[in-house]
């Protein structure tokens, strides 16, 4: 453990706090009471984790950054240089959560921190904007869902294809797809194939390296805090920053990185926002205990027979994106149903969703992708990860949220956290 650098970090923090002392941002809720914000008002936010991803959160519209937090001094300096007003800087997110002037906390750390930080932010009464994947275990996801609900917080998971933007190879947003599926034209049950053929890249380059040699921790990084709840492993630059997705302790490779992007809209389309598959079949090479490897195929089956197939090797050359007994929709919104696009026009629109987070924060109506449906889509990802890691197919009980007849798999639902961290 690296206690040596934490003294210097403290020193650094102190000076940062002094520098920010002249700040006079008055939080909106002090002025008008929370939840009474005029739409033109800026909400205040703090960003935890200002690596490449977190720095991207600085400019979101309708919000103003008042604090940034990172365990790497270089990240903090860079983030600070990008913000043209005074901003407080921190190395420990718990200090950020105690700031009364912060309305929203953005969590842009590696995924092994998401669960704890989201729960702590809810306890502190903050609204939460969390990067995907929501959590890296099913157990942590459940805790986030419960804490956010119990404390009445607004939560946004940061993937957006269920409500806007062209959806990868489909060449459309999900709205017309949702209309078609809800209309029953395709029949039931449906099969969805997510692969290069249907327009998705599984990013297997997020594979970790084996046999890493211990290296000295750089002076600017608080490695013990970077690891946080993750198991202690000797430092090696391969683990941290841009590379962390290749290690099971922090994320789950391409599936962790892209899975929720790809699967959350599928879950929405299939109307599975409050349930899970009952079986997960997997075809993959043997996995390393630490470094993430690739996989060939993951097949999820729901109780009603709907299936979601993740085809990692693009084996199904003619695969439709969505296939039902009465019709198929292919990449690029092609279909074997004649004049489908014209038909879409005649169908009712799906239920509208709140798609601007500041609107959720102000109206207190749930964001389109929130702690509940977000939990279920991250669970979809995590079920795949457990099956790939164990190298076997699994049966799952969507009500109890437990695997059936598989103690090994159940021991991966909530993975241990390194003390003093717990959730």
């Amino acid at each position: 453990m690296v206690h040596k650098s934490s003294t210097s970090r403290r020193g650094f923090l102190k000076s940062a706090l002094v520098a920010g002392a002249g700040l006079t941002i008055i939080p909106r809720h002090v002025l008008g009471g929370r939840g009474f914000l005029a739409p033109s008002d800026h909400l205040t936010k703090a960003i935890i984790g200002v690596g490449g991803m977190g720095r991207g959160h600085i400019p979101y519209e309708g919000t103003r950054v008042v604090a940034v937090c990172d365990v790497d001094r270089l990240h903090l300096e860079k983030a600070k240089s990008m913000i043209n007003h005074d901003v407080k800087t921190f190395g420990d997110f718990r200090e950020v959560l105690q700031l009364p002037e912060v309305d929203i906390v953005h969590i842009a750390t590696p995924p092994h921190w998401h669960g704890i930080m989201a729960v702590e932010a809810a306890k502190a009464g903050k609204d939460i904007w969390c990067e995907k994947p929501m959590t890296r275990t099913i157990g942590e996801g459940k805790k986030v869902m419960e804490a956010v609900n119990a404390h009445g917080r607004m939560f946004r998971l940061n993937t957006w294809f269920r409500f806007k933007d062209t959806f990868y190879g489909l060449g459309t947003d999900v709205k017309p797809l949702k209309k078609i599926i809800d209309s029953g034209i395709l029949g039931w049950p449906l099969k969805v194939t997510v692969s290069g053929v249907t327009g998705y890249d599984w990013k297997f380059f997020w594979s970790g390296k084996h046999n890493l040699a211990p290296m000295p921790v750089p002076e600017h990084l608080d490695y013990d805090m970077w690891l946080g709840p993750a198991p202690y492993r000797p430092y090696n630059p391969e683990r941290v920053h841009a590379n962390f997705r290749g290690y099971w302790d922090y994320d789950g490779g391409g599936l962790g990185d892209m899975g929720q992007h790809y699967l959350d809209p599928v879950q929405y389309l299939l109307g599975k926002d409050d349930t899970c598959p009952v079986s997960i079949e997997v075809d993959a090479p043997q996995q390393h205990y630490d470094a993430v490897g690739s996989w060939r195929r993951i097949t999820y089956t729901y109780a009603d027979g709907c299936r979601v197939i993740l085809d990692g090797e693009n084996k199904d050359k003619d695969a439709a994106y969505i296939e039902g007994p009465h019709g198929k929709i292919y990449r690029g919104f092609r279909s074997d149903i004649p004049n489908l696009q014209d038909l879409v026009k005649t169908l009712p629109d799906p239920e509208p969703q709140i798609t601007v987070f500041s609107e959720s924060v102000q109206t207190r109506k749930k964001f389109a992708l929130n702690e509940t449906n977000g939990f279920y889509s991250s669970t979809l990802v995590n079920l795949g990860i457990v099956a790939v890691r164990l190298g076997r197919s699994l049966q799952f009980d969507p009500v109890k949220l437990k695997f059936i007849d598989d103690e090994g798999a159940n021991r991966l639902i909530s993975q241990p956290m390194r003390a003093s961290w717990s959730i």
Binding site: H29, R34, G35, G52, R55, G56, R94, L97, Q98, P100, E120, K123, A124, G125, N149, A150, H151, G152, G196, D201, F205, H210, N211, L212, A213, P231, Y232, P234, H241, A242, N243, D283, A284, P285, Q286, Q287, H288, G293, N314, D342, K345, T346, L347, P348, D349, E351, R364, L390, G391, R392, D405, D406, E407, G408, R411, P416, R418, A419, S420, S422
Partner: protein
């Protein structure tokens, strides 16, 4: 071969097969471990299961041996061992593997003792998280007292989760330091070990913040009534605010745990305490927790609290309560909420109605509906939205009536759009007449949104309305409801409309109406006809890009060239916005001949049109290179560079090299080069070779920006696995004629010259070369006189790319292996037949000499050849189009013989000026066909060159080479088998094969050239196991079996028609066969035959030490490829 169905014998020997073929594994444990480790990581789960099964069979001693190979990080490579141990734990954690789980558990514990390194011991303890059981408790316990081991040991015990595990953690508490205590306390909390409450409580006053936090959390988790005071005090000390000690949260958790444990009085007291202390604004989120806990543990008792909560002035808190209310209570709760809403102020009333909608209890329908008439707009809005949720399509009539009343047009519209499909349009549209203004506009919007073209006339009439809302809606609707039948009316409106926005709306509608009408693309189209007569030409011209067609294009180009002012600008915009590639020629001319704005806009439009055109990549690159000189600045150049990044061709990458050192263009160029060279998302379509490597290394050095760290990793990963081949090599340095020489005679006359004579003539020819050939502007040019320009090097099989350009009347070509020629000529030379296009093998007499299609660019423009020559066959792509498809090039100099095996590449000169640029060649070494880099390094050689049967003997009639494959077609009338020319004793033989239904062949090994190889040597069966005719074979007759001796495992052949990969290792008497990554046979010949062979036949060849490898065909069609061998004796 050898499918002889002796049913009787089969049955008789079955018992024998079982007893003799599963011969005992005589390998030592060390060997078995080494063999297993060599297979880490296993490629698939079936293979993994098998190897794990083998490791599990080794027992605890074997496991200990395995774990002894673990090393501390940084001191060696134990990757395979860690793969094995971890996978074994995972394997053993599955249902029904109790026995191997016990073995692994024992093994892990035994290994822990023998390792000193903490990281290694942590690794071993971590495995117990998966397989640990109560048996491990005693052993794991002792690690709790070592501070560095407390965490992994405690984690293992938490996973084990038995009472003994908890006791062990508890006992370790005494004597532990603070750091260990934090872990132990947390773990006891997770296991909810009640006996520890008293002891843990003593830490609540610790000076160590982490320990205090862990203590409170653990006590909360355990939820014992005795902890009440302590936890409440801690929360009060924290002022019920968020503090890193989590004291407040611990008390909230505690309250819940009391409820879960059935301590209802304490639970209620705790909740009341929380309410008391969390009344102030900043703590209401903690107060909110009480509401959900009340609802969870006391059900209806929560109602008064929830009802009271919505009286709060804090919206967040009200919503927290309403979210709880959404899912709790039954019909009586719904009634209470209705009553509450009736007496609440408008804002809260609206919020309750919103909740009732989400709650979905139909009991609320009537109440919600009655709110449609409320004075508050907020209430009405939420009532409309709630009604949609409660009633679905049943709400449509009510909502239409409400809409018609005119109060909430926008909200009603949004609601209706969620509910109506086409069948609802008639009742909605029928209300159009009785409404006006904004309400009428909404009806028009909704009809249009569902494509209600039956109401075109009615809506069209509204375009003349005086009311702005109605008018806007009607114009806006036209594009959704117009069909070809409405074209006349729309054109008339187009030319009469006055408002610019309205004109735009009509234009969109005209496009919709006209786009599927073919006549609109001709002279007689209604639009083109109207264009001639109207004075509002701009309105029609700007539509034409969407309609398309040659006539329209000519017309618009003409307006651009011949008019001025606004009309010229509109024509220009039309050309830049043309819907397909057809306008590119016009845009190029504008770029070339104009300046300023026209030039730069035409430039970017040209690039866009090329980018979206359906053209081969080679052609796109030529177009981009053509326009590049007219770039108005770096922005234009970057546009082209990034467009080239989409072209996955070698020349595209090479072209971008010049920009990588240009400061302004560097980043675009670097990203484009990376995109071109790296594989697509499906892992394919990547470039390789030394040039690619050099460029990517430069890219990695210069690339910067937000995501560039990822890019660098990608590049590095790719470079690591990129084949080490040379790839394309430049034949022309762009500066001089190095690498080229003058031509002397022809391949035949040259062989007749003496060395001295040839050298002398070569010198003369080299001198003369400079009179006729020169380098100008990075191209090789010819002045119209003299001989061919000849490469210094000779080439056998190769691929090449080259750009060429001819002038009017040009006639040239490329000689391959010193022989004419891939034709280049001006297609206007019809007197010599040039109208067929360039690229053909002009001098062929027996084989096709003409190209498959004309793919030439205009004379004076550049063209790209991609040529490959393998054996005698040549394939040519011209500008990305296939023009010669694998055609033999005949020997022009000696028609009685096939083409030479190698020779010069020559640029032909034929009395006209011409130019070449970007000449690259990649040599193909057929000796290495099918070999991976690893195999080359390991000493494998390729046995089949893909072109002919050099190196083989025997039946070369039924066996022949085609398209790089060894094809077997017995119908050709040959006899016998095909054998290698050389003999092999111990070897690794790898090959791929593709079966046809019912196919039967065999791989002979250590066989003599005569006799029945299955007996005089050995035969490894090759067979379509799935064919019905083979349903009743003996085990030892199926695919992979050593025929008659050792049966192979079945089930690993890919479906018939797919390629299979097989490896045969013959090492002394041991034969191992791996099919598609699965070991299907691993046996010892001596062992298997010591009591006689299972087929009861004499196998004199069984113990032959060496012989030929061969394919033993028996009447079936099939194919082989990538055949390679490593001789283990050499």
């Amino acid at each position: 071969m050898k499918v002889r169905i002796y049913q009787l014998i089969t049955t008789l020997v079955l018992a024998l097969v079982i007893s003799t073929t599963f011969a005992q594994d005589r390998r030592t444990p060390e060997t078995r471990i080494a063999d297993a480790l060599a297979q880490m990581p296993a490629g698939n789960l079936v293979h993994l299961e098998r190897v794990m099964g083998e490791l599990a069979d080794l027992g605890p001693e074997g496991f200990t041996k395995l774990s002894q190979m673990l090393v501390a990080p940084g001191t060696g490579d134990d990757t395979a061992v860690r793969f094995a141990i971890n996978s074994l734990a995972r394997y053993s954690s599955a249902f029904g593997r109790e026995e191997s789980r016990r073995m692994v558990e024992k093994g892990l514990i035994a290994s822990l003792v023998s390792h000193k390194d903490n990281e290694v011991r942590t690794f071993l303890l971590n495995q117990l998280n998966l397989v640990g059981s109560n048996h491990s408790v005693v052993a794991v316990k002792k690690y709790l007292s070592e501070e560095a081991m407390t965490e992994p040991a405690a984690q293992a015990l938490v996973a084990i989760a038995t009472r003994d595990a908890a006791k062990a953690l508890f006992q370790a508490l005494s004597g532990a330091g603070d750091a260990s205590r934090v872990t132990l306390v947390r773990s006891l909390g997770e296991l909810r070990f009640e006996e520890s409450v008293k002891t843990i409580s003593t830490f609540s006053g610790s000076a160590n913040q982490d320990l205090r936090k862990a203590t409170l959390a653990a006590l909360a988790n355990i939820g014992h009534p005795d902890s009440y005071k302590l936890l409440l005090k801690a929360a009060r000390d924290a002022n019920f605010e968020y503090k890193p000690s989590n004291a407040t949260e611990s008390f909230l958790v505690y309250a819940n745990r009391l409820g879960e444990r059935g301590e209802m009085n304490e639970c209620r007291n705790a909740l009341k305490a929380i309410i008391k202390y969390t009344q102030s604004e900043g703590k209401l989120h903690n107060h909110a927790v009480v509401l959900s806990l009340y609802a969870r543990h006391f059900d209806n008792e929560a109602m008064p609290l929830l009802l009271k909560a919505v009286d709060s002035g804090n919206k967040e808190f009200r919503y927290a309560a309403l979210n709880v209310a959404q899912n709790s209570g039954g019909a009586s709760a719904t009634r209470q909420w209705i009553a509450k809403a009736e007496s609440a102020p408008a804002a809260v009333r609206a919020e309750i109605i919103d909740m009732l909608g989400r709650r979905g209890d139909e009991l609320a329908v009537e109440f919600v509906r009655s709110n449609l008439n409320e004075a508050s707009q907020e209430v009405r809005k939420d009532a409309i939205e709630a009604l949609v949720k409660l009633q679905g399509q049943d709400a449509v009539p009510v909502l239409i009536d409400h809409l018609v009343k005119g109060k909430d047009p926008e909200v009603s519209k949004n609601a209706l759009l969620q509910l109506i499909s086409r069948k609802h349009l008639a009742p909605l549209a029928s209300r159009m007449k009785e409404t006006s203004g904004a309400t009428r506009a909404v009806i028009i919007d909704a009809v249009a949104a569902r494509g209600g073209n039956a109401w075109f006339d009615e809506i069209f009439a509204v375009t003349g309305s005086e009311n702005a809302d109605e008018r806007n809606a009607a114009f806006n609707a036209l594009k959704n409801i117009s069909t070809a039948a409405n074209l006349d009316a729309l054109i008339e409106l187009l030319l009469s409309a006055e408002d610019e926005k309205e004109v735009q709306q009509v234009q969109l509608a005209v496009v919709e109406a006209a786009k599927s009408v073919e006549a609109e693309q001709t002279e007689n189209g209604k639009l083109l006809s109207a264009l001639k007569t109207t004075d509002k030409k701009e309105r029609i011209i700007s539509i034409l890009p969407e309609i398309g067609g040659d006539v329209a294009l000519e017309t618009v180009t003409e307006y651009f060239n011949s008019s001025n002012g606004r009309l010229k600008e509109v024509a220009f915009e039309a050309l830049t916005g043309w819907k397909d590639y057809n306008a590119a020629a016009s845009l190029y001319k504008i770029t070339e001949s104009s300046t300023g704005d026209y030039r730069s806009k035409a430039f970017s439009s040209f690039v866009r049109q090329v980018r979206t055109a359906d053209l081969p990549d080679d052609q796109k690159l030529l177009q981009y290179r053509k326009i590049m000189p007219y770039a108005s600045g770096a922005a234009d150049q970057r546009l082209v560079i990034s467009a080239i990044g989409n072209l996955k061709t070698f020349l595209s990458m090479v072209y971008l090299e010049q920009y990588i050192d240009n400061r302004e263009l560097q980043q675009s160029a670097a990203r484009s080069i990376m995109r071109i060279a790296l594989p697509d998302s499906d892992g394919k379509n990547n470039l390789s070779g030394q040039k690619v490597r050099d460029l990517l290394q430069r890219v990695a050095l210069v690339i910067s920006g937000e995501e560039s760290d990822y890019d660098k990793i990608n590049i590095q990963n790719y470079l690591e696995r990129m084949p080490k081949e040379e790839g394309f090599v430049s034949m022309f340095n762009g500066k001089n004629l190095d690498g080229w020489q003058g031509l002397v005679g022809n391949p035949i006359t040259r062989t007749k010259m003496s060395k001295e004579e040839l050298a002398k003539k070569q010198e003369e020819a080299n001198g003369k070369m400079y009179e006729n050939w020169a380098v100008k502007d990075n191209t090789i040019v010819f002045n119209g006189k003299g001989d061919n320009l000849c490469s210094v090097k000779e080439y056998g099989d190769f691929e090449m790319v080259v750009d060429w350009r001819i002038t009017k009347g040009g006639d040239s070509g490329l000689y391959l292996r010193g022989s004419p020629q891939v034709q280049i000529w001006d297609t206007a030379l019809t007197n010599v037949g040039a109208e067929v296009g360039s690229g053909g093998l002009y001098n062929n007499q027996k084989n096709p000499s003409k190209p498959l299609k004309v793919a030439d660019n205009q004379v004076g423009e550049w063209n790209t050849f991609r040529i490959s020559m393998t054996g005698e066959n040549v394939t040519v792509y011209l500008n990305g189009e296939l023009v010669v498809d694998n055609v033999p090039l005949e020997n022009y100099w000696d028609r009685s013989n096939p083409i030479f095996g190698k020779g010069f590449i020559e640029l032909q000169a034929h009395g006209s000026d011409l130019a070449f640029r970007d000449i690259y060649v990649k040599e193909i070494n057929t000796d290495e066909i099918g070999l991976t880099e690893v195999e080359k390094a390991e000493g494998f050689v390729s046995l089949f060159n893909g072109m002919n049967l050099d190196g083989w003997q025997g039946n070369k009639t039924d066996y022949f080479a085609r398209n790089g494959e060894l094809v077997v077609q017995p119908a050709r009338g040959g006899q016998g088998n095909l054998f290698t020319e050389k003999e092999y004793s111990d070897f690794i033989f790898r090959f791929e094969f593709q079966l046809t239904p019912g196919a039967n062949n065999g791989l002979g090994i250590r066989a003599p050239l005569s006799g029945d190889a299955a007996y005089t040597g050995m035969e490894l069966q090759i067979l379509d196991n799935t064919a019905p005719v083979y349903a009743n074979l003996a085990d030892y007759q199926y695919h992979g079996s050593v025929y008659g001796i050792i049966p192979a495992k079945r089930g690993f052949l890919r479906p018939v028609g797919e390629w299979n990969e097989q490896e045969v290792v013959a090492d002394g008497s041991r034969i191992t066969i791996t099919l598609n990554g699965n070991v299907i046979l691993d046996g010892d010949l001596v062992e298997a035959s010591k009591n006689g062979t299972v087929d009861k036949r004499d196998h004199p060849g069984l113990l032959r030490e060496k012989g030929f490898i061969g394919f033993l065909g028996h009447g079936s069609e099939l194919k082989f490829r990538n055949i390679r061998v490593k001789d283990l004796i050499r």
